[in-house]
Subunit: 233 residues, 2 copies
Amino acid sequence: MTALTPVDAKALADIALFAALPPAVLEEAAAMARTRPLPRGLRIFDQGEPAGRAHALLSGGVRITQAGSDGEEILVRLIGSGEIFGCVPVLTDGLYPADATAIVDAVELSWDPADLLALMQRHSRIAINMVAIVGKRLGEAQERLRELATQSADRRIARTLLRLLDQAGCRTGDGLRIDFPLRRKDIADIAGTTLHTASRILAAWQRDGLLISRNRHLVIASPEAMDRIAEGN
Amino acid sequence: MTALTPVDAKALADIALFAALPPAVLEEAAAMARTRPLPRGLRIFDQGEPAGRAHALLSGGVRITQAGSDGEEILVRLIGSGEIFGCVPVLTDGLYPADATAIVDAVELSWDPADLLALMQRHSRIAINMVAIVGKRLGEAQERLRELATQSADRRIARTLLRLLDQAGCRTGDGLRIDFPLRRKDIADIAGTTLHTASRILAAWQRDGLLISRNRHLVIASPEAMDRIAEGN
DNA sequence: GGAGAAGTTTGATCCAGCGCAAATTCATTG
DNA sequence: CAATGAATTTGCGCTGGATCAAACTTCTCC
């Protein structure tokens, strides 16, 4: 479960939470961290359960979903390498607010919540980095909220794809590819629509050559056209 | 515009951002703060404008709204006394992400962004408090997102009222009253529906004696019934 | 390589709630 | 207190997209 080999401080430099920190502090954080491989499909934690660890992803991808009492769920966020997750409850009510599942083989670092808190107390820069990270996510959530309340399903899906490109896009032969494996249901759960509507819209875009869908990966052939749809034609 | 009288450090103790801080630090924060009265209707800042100050409310209420390029807007949050607003951009891109308007006569404290940042650097507790505040708001935003994507308009409005009660409810003769003055449009903009739908639903509840609407204030006569609606009958 | 599971596509139907319009009530100000 | 503007209520038709149903395709694992 837990690697016995010490965590390399250099690995921490790629994590946004530890950006702009002196090497000594990275060493300190590394000393308290544990590495763990996360095989694809692994449920990392469950919504409502006490936050036993605070997490950061070194590689791979993690899906964060939230379910209501009725079972209806949304995809809160996809976590890529260098991003933290399940860290906020350390400072609030101590309960994970959502489920986390590895969507590809991944590697995480994790800390005991008390250790991370102590680290933030000693080094305000870490706490400040965390405000920046959480603040950015809050801004995104509010933007999604506005879109969901006011825009049509196709605009929202276009926005979703553009945001994912921004987060995890890489250039390929025929366009920009989203590095996370995504099912239609995932797209729907981010954009706030149903699997069926998402499938219809993506199929139409694929017919128009705007988009290529391979395996569980999407390649956006024309980001410009996608932009135009997102802006409402 | 700016009060010449020094800010009283005791006033800071009621602000969540400065919770659990030694008096000396409160003095330090007070020394850098400015007081300003905010008459009802005053636009405090505009979306997209550089964040010239970081704000906290001593009394009154402020409405934070976000508009899209098409003019459609949502109500991101209502700020009550003791809450901070317009503080996140200090740590991110430096631009206010939304509009802020006083909805009743209010009094604010404000800081120069650089001063607040320095304060957080010196006292990690302040930065940690801020993570807790922003983290809580993020959780709320994600909850709203899920509700908006999956629940009917009446459930969302019921949830909205309950959340507002939680934030600014006070007991009165005939039920629990929400302390912010709210127009139907405000309710609609929080719940993510139209003014018309909100009006219809509230009117129906008023007919059933579940709710009393006076001036621009709502009194929830039966929070229990409201709870039941929020849970889906 | 084949059986079963998981994911996708597409069709048909239906309704919550949006958009538009108009009447009515309420609040503010000279 | 009248008058003007703002906010609310209510009616009605229409539609985007949810829901239900079913065929089809693609993965996964033995």
